[in-house]
Amino acid sequence: MTKLLDAPERPLRTGDPNGTAPRAGLARRIRNLLTSPKYGPVTVTAVLFVVIFIAGGLRYRGFFSGQVFLNLLVDNSYLIVLAVGMTFVILTGGIDLSVGAVVALSGMIAASLLQTGWSPAAVIPLILVLTSILGLLVGLMIHVFKVQPFIATLAAMFLARGLCYVISQSSISITDPTFVQLAVARIPLGGNLSITPSVIIAVVVVAIAVWVLHATRFGRTVYAIGGGEQSGLLMGLPVARTKVLVYVISGFCSGMAGVLFTFYTLSGYPLTAIGTELDAIAAVVIGGTLLTGGYGFVLGSVLGVLVLGVIQTIITFEGTLSSWWTKIFIGALLLVFIILQKVLTSRRR
């Protein structure tokens, strides 16, 4: 044994299992990218998105334009914000089913308060605070009482939806000039292209989320919890705080999405955004985030939203699908996406 101590230094070969040569071929590098659990799915989604967009352009008149692409952002800015919040939650291995109902609730709060003459400057922060508090309660329920996220957020969903009806059973219009202005304003980008203020807000939210997840300790702890909560705990990471905070963020994002949604529809309606949580989850998953947590990117989720948007755009451009074929078509395109993603990334091991 002692003799070993002065054994010659021996570099261990534990690095890349494929023994990558210094200049690996392009094919191999592509394969490595695709099969990485971290980058594979999101890469595939990006490629497929481009392919679909080009295919749509070839098939439909007027499809291949900058505004059609920008409309994806304009029409889905609230969904992008929702997906951002959902990404945080899913990265920790949780799920948030309440987001759709919280969007509706935010709209109801906004519409009813504005109707009674509140100022938007008070209403919007109030909504964000309230939805964050709801997120906090959900987070505490999940962390302190070990209620499963699916159930805790389902309860929150029922609660939020119920509160919507309590506020009003019918839809309420928003006529507040600030809201109307934000809803109809167009920011020209030159060349007949324009976006809405909502898009800017969504982009800012995305940018902040990217920074938080990538470059802060909190963000890395989010990934750590997804990789193994117990391990994170034993490594001395602030698991409890992070886990609760993630739901606060999701609550906040739902509130923000709710505000954007009211810009979009200029009304509050208790039945609105039913099933939107599934859209957000689907976007996150299509964007390459694993539902079990630990792997994924916010930008992937944005891409996921764009994919859902482009599927819908194609359906309206097609314009001949009956209601049921629309459903079947959406399901089929989703399937094609998921399967391609799976097949292309599954060469591992």
Partner: protein
């Protein structure tokens, strides 16, 4: 007492008790540690070592007792607090994050920051430096999950020693490590010790304890036996204190192993791998295993032992070469197929690939047997209980409650449950990948004896262990791997740890060719089996032994 006791203890735990439902894991245990000493916590599996550590770092709340750190009474609400107070810990099961990079696993929670953002470059640099300190050449950007368990263990150690801690706790850090890595670790431990860090080192390897530790505390069944200076305690006495009775089996075993080299013949070859390999994992290898033969796999960390074993166990599919079972070429596509060919593979990663934590001991033991029978032919309850009971006794699984959830067993006892599962299917070839990992000395002896007895009854065993002594003690033949190639296939005849080590590490220094008889390194092919003496008894052995346990008692 020595000079160390002159200084005040950095940690003092008094009267610690912890109760889990149905188990009193710790019962009024006292424990203390001094700055600048390496202290070992000794005890059988389930004695309460890990529990004591977790009590100290706040993972478990204590029912009774006090903890003082540097003279002040503390009560940590969790590992984060303990860490902040200067206690750095590597827990027994590797607790890292497979989805993050190696660098992050080392630096998580104390990442270097610039302008409020994590400074990724500085982080990678720091991680690389730390790994280099352990003589580990590893890309800090690679995903942790892509590395073998041993590497993960080293990364966990790197993480722990990076903190400027007053106390460093290592709960079985060496269970998957090779001699080389252990040596590296010890070098680091010594230097930390010189800086006045108190180090708690838990290990079932007595050699290592005697090499590095100054003082040790022995636990038995959750109670304190005593605190001793290592140099004043003979090994034999230590073992006696741990298990509460004398241990003789090991020497006895060694005698028998040396004398009873199994004779083989072509007819008795149970499995024969020819050019079996898998791209990116293991290069084509030849590996014949005769009935009743114990073959040891030796090699460095990452040399491909596990990968080869997984091919034989049907866990991974081979994409090159062929495998003959009893002379018939068979493609193993699933573990299930291997099992129906009576080949059992017991994984080195018992937590992720071995035990089913939330099932009971009973269900875990019968799982493979039942899977082989199919779901619609359930094993009768009575037989199930008998089987479970017999293995609980044979392997001394504690607590001996068949209804206990395996998750709540100590690490070593989980390993025994896993072993019982595989013995229950009456395998003809048992592949044991690090079966003695985290197993106490008494149980280790039991397992070794078991392997030996099984082999005598005609079962083949492929044995992988980082502990070369163990491989040498048990194996009839030893196959050496290096860089995922089989580089030697030797009769265990006059081999020593040193000669084997030289063989394994060869390539870095050519002049240290081993001198042991029969130890000449052979390029690739195995020793032609026809050269071996023929033993009629081996081929006459009952092909389906009904009592696979071979009744070790």
């Amino acid at each position: 007492m020595t000079q160390a006791s002159v200084a005040a203890p950095v940690i003092e735990m008094q009267g610690i008790s912890i109760t889990f439902p149905g188990v009193k894991a710790l019962d009024g245990v006292d424990f203390r540690m001094f700055p600048g000493e390496v202290h070992s916590l000794m005890g059988e599996n389930g004695a309460g070592k890990s529990t004591l550590i977790k009590a100290l770092t706040g993972v478990y709340g204590i029912d009774a007792g006090t903890i003082t750190l540097a003279g002040e009474q503390v009560s940590f609400s969790g590992p984060a607090q303990a860490q902040a107070s200067g206690i750095s810990t590597v827990y027994q099961e590797v607790n890292l994050l497979p989805n993050l990079s190696v660098a992050e696993n080392i630096m998580l929670g104390r990442e270097p920051r610039r302008f409020g953002s994590i400074d990724w470059r500085a982080m990678r640099r720091r991680a690389a430096a730390l790994l280099a300190g352990l003589n580990l050449d590893l890309d800090p950007n690679s995903l942790l999950g892509d590395h073998s368990l041993a590497v993960q263990q080293l990364v966990a150690i790197a993480r722990a020693i990076d903190v400027q801690a007053k106390v460093l706790i290592l709960d079985e850090p060496t269970s998957s490590l090779d001699a080389d890595e252990v040596a590296e670790l010890f070098r680091v431990i010594r230097s930390l010790k010189e800086q006045g860090v108190a180090i708690l080192f838990v290990s079932h390897f007595l050699d290592q304890v005697y090499e590095i530790c100054d003082r040790l505390t022995v636990l038995r069944n959750g109670s304190l036996v005593g605190e001793y200076l290592v140099e004043e305690l003979l090994r034999i006495d230590l073992v006696q204190k741990m298990i509460g009775k004398e241990l003789t089996t090991l020497d006895d075993l060694e005698q028998r192993a040396r004398s009873a080299v199994v004779d083989e013949s072509d007819a008795a070859i149970f499995v024969n791998a020819e050019g079996l390999g898998r791209r990116g994992a293991i290069n084509p290898a030849d590996l014949p295993i005769a009935a009743g033969e114990v073959v040891g796999l030796a090699g460095l960390l990452g040399s491909g032992r596990t990968e080869l074993a997984r091919l034989l166990g049907g866990i991974d599919r081979a994409d090159q070469g062929e495998l003959a079972i009893r002379g018939k070429v068979t493609k193993l596509r699933t573990p299930r197929q291997a099992i129906s060919n009576r080949i059992a593979y017991s994984s080195e990663n018992r937590r992720d690939e071995g035990v089913v934590g939330d099932l009971t001991v009973r269900d875990n033991i019968v799982l493979a047997l039942q899977a082989d029978r199919g779901w619609f032919r359930p094993i009768p309850a009575k037989r199930r209980d008998e089987l479970t009971q017999s293995y609980i006794q044979a392997l001394n699984i504690r607590p001996g409650n068949p209804d206990a959830l395996v998750r709540n067993l100590s690490g070593g006892n989980q390993q025994k449950v896993l072993l019982a599962r595989w013995l229950a299917i009456a395998p003809r070839l048992l592949i044991l990948d690090e079966p003695t990992r985290g197993i106490d000395i008494g149980a280790k002896a039991e397992i070794q004896k078991l392997v030996f007895n099984l082999a005598e009854n005609g079962m083949s065993v492929l044995f992988i262990s980082a502990e070369l002594e163990e491989v040498l003690r048990l194996s009839h033949r030893i196959v050496v791997l290096r860089d995922r190639h089989v580089v030697a296939d030797l009769e265990n005849d006059g081999l020593t740890v040193d000669s084997l080590l030289a063989l394994i590490a060869e390539g870095s220094s050519d002049d240290e060719v081993p001198d042991a008889a029969g130890g000449v390194p052979i390029a690739v092919p195995a020793v032609p089996s026809a050269d071996r003496p023929h033993d009629p008894a081996a081929s006459d052995a009952d092909p389906n032994p009904t009592d696979p346990t071979g009744d070790p008692r």
